[in-house]
Point group: C2
DNA sequence: GGTGCGTTCCAAAACGTTTTGGATCCTACC
DNA sequence: GGTAGGATCCAAAACGTTTTGGAACGCACC
């Protein structure tokens, strides 16, 4: 027999479809003995409810969707695997499955979004990599569709549920560590795109600098397009071969930090003796490289589990909960101290004094 | 209005549900003018067919499933992101979505498999990381359910569709390169688990050695549990601090190769001058590490696209195609020549002669 | 005028499930 | 003996779609 249905069970048991259905669901409506009989036969023939039938009548698909952004240059998100594993873990614990909606390069992400929402293929959505202001968020809020985001938007942080990494705090901590180690000449190497994670990390650094209120502190900034490795390498090369080379570099991501290490090696700049580098992400490569990169771990997997929980609360509870008091969670990244940072080098000019750093503008 | 249905459209257009449905599907039995009218209104109200209704009547869910193995120690598959991106790419091009079934640690993977197959949530399945003999494959063959696997099983390669990397060939090539560079003392560092990719790679190496038929060639082997990094490091340390240390190490995976590089550095063994190392996988870390690792690129993304194509052919075409002449594809990995391999070092004993290597057993 | 055919439309059934609103029978109680 | 109420079961409707098997109409042809 192909797939057994409720009707097959009903016939075999000489019961009605209703009774079989309610027996399986455990309603007190059906006699205990009958319930046992039903369950036994169901188990024996390996009955599994057809999900299309189920979701047609319940209005629930049992799926949570994730929009998979297919980038124009085919770049693989290094966190995707970890993130998905976490989502899967969080979802399966509460009986849902994950569904990946891939956006073709040709059609816009918004079209895919609409298709998913309107077709009822998913009961809720997870959005990643939100932009500072994000059209997807607006659309979903407008539709009243349950969703959570990994990362915040800038403008209106309170209108929907999110989980985010506290990048501002991490960058402030990184700065404090380096400052305490005597560094005064900083550089920030970042990207050229209005991603909100960039905004928070950069702001965190700037606020930490401002809080010190030390005129000796200088900050150079370099921003290049996110997926243009060549431009990035060039910018870092320029930064490091500069007369006013910084003694400490904060990289927006490990990917950038690794390039900093590479270019430092290229220019025979000793890390960490002459240059301290701190990244963010804790990529696997960061542990293998020499010197091993000091960085922050985002706990991507935990973040994803948290997002799954948040979303399921939204779906299972009252969906309008989102509008009333959306849940937010800021995850505290862990500093992974490794070998790429250390005390500031003595400057070439042995001036001794503190505020007397003539190479600064 | 919530989600518009065919009935809403029909009422608005003063047509029957049938006509609207067939108009949208483009059947010739609705007048061209009507068809245009239908399409216009559908687009205007943003009609998207409800997928539960659709799949209930068509028997197709529109989903392809992937079983996500949740490992007991929570290890993240480093290829998952790339693999999924490829799958998504291959599927979206032909109008399907991907669905991830996570297996809880508690329930066995087989239970999840059965649930997916019987519930009709997926029209086909992708299996990864097949074991030398795999219960999942047996089950699906038995059920006649469409599926493809990434990797082959050992025993019966011809009963189902697969795409695999030609690991045997890669390891043979790696051996030939090292042999031509003068290496005679080899080691293979591998895992302790009956994964079929291990089998093929190891066999490829052994056959290449046999083909040379050179009694001067020796091969030491080390196998440790797959996810026990400590045991692995220890085994590699032992191997390299051994009196009869090899001059060339072939690592089953880059993850292993990186540990070899790490331990070589620990023991002050210069790579590649004193030790050549070749890996397999082309992990991102392998490019960043010093010396950069020579390895093979598996083209995971292309592999995944190929799997998607194969599976959709199976689903859309005749499913029994699988039994008659299942499609196989062997992907040729690319050698990525980097800095971790080179000519064999002169041995300490300057014996000059060829077959006169007294430290060998 | 009847026949046949092509065009355009539609009512109804079907997919498999859950839920609603009883129906039936039995027991207990007055 | 009649009735209330509990226990157990079920027929039918509903979810939204696709497909089957016509129906209705107009036109051309003999």
């Amino acid at each position: 027999m192909a797939r057994p249905t409720l009707r097959h069970l009903a016939e075999e048991l000489d019961l009605s479809i209703t009774t079989v259905s309610r027996g399986l669901a455990g309603y007190s409506d059906v006699a205990a003995a009958t319930r046992v009989r039903i369950r036994e036969t169901a188990a024996r023939v390996g009955y599994v409810p057809n999900s299309a039938g189920q979701s047609l009548v319940t209005g629930r698909s049992g799926f949570v969707g994730l929009l998979l952004p297919l980038r124009d240059p085919p770049v693989i998100d290094p966190f995707l695997g970890e993130f998905l594993t976490g989502l899967g873990e969080g979802l399966v614990a509460r009986g849902r499955d994950l569904f990946l909606a891939t956006a073709q390069a040709s059609q816009s992400e918004m079209e895919v979004l609409q298709r998913v929402v309107e077709s009822g293929r998913a009961d809720g959505l997870v959005l990643t990599r939100v932009a500072e202001s994000d059209a997807r968020v607006e659309y979903l809020l407008d539709k009243g569709f349950p969703f959570v985001t990994h990362g915040r938007t800038i403008d209106e942080n309170l209108r929907h549920c999110w989980v985010d990494t506290d990048g501002a705090d991490a960058f402030a901590r990184a700065f404090d560590i380096l400052y305490s180690d005597g560094h005064r000449d900083f550089a920030l190497v970042s990207i050229d795109e209005p991603q909100s994670f960039r905004r928070f990390r950069e702001d965190g650094l700037r606020r930490a600098i401002a809080a010190r209120n030390d005129p000796a502190v200088s900050l150079q900034q370099r921003r290049t397009p996110r997926f243009d490795q060549q431009a990035r390498t060039q910018a870092i090369y320029d930064l490091l071969s500069n007369d006013e080379r910084p003694t400490a570099v904060l990289a927006l991501t490990d990917e950038i930090a690794l390039t900093v290490l590479e270019q430092a090696a290229e220019l025979d700049i000793a890390v960490p003796d002459e240059l301290s580098v701190i990244g963010f992400d804790n990529l696997p490569a960061s542990a293998w490289v020499t010197p091993a990169l000091t960085t922050f771990d985002q706990h991507i997997r935990d973040t994803a589990v948290g997002l799954a929980d948040q979303l399921l609360d939204l779906i299972d509870g009252n969906a309008s909960n989102s509008a009333l008091s959306p849940s937010h969670r800021l995850i505290h990244p862990d500093l992974i101290q490794r070998a790429s940072h250390g005390p500031a080098p003595r400057r070439h000019k042995e001036s001794g004094g503190e505020g007397n750093r003539d190479f600064m503008s």
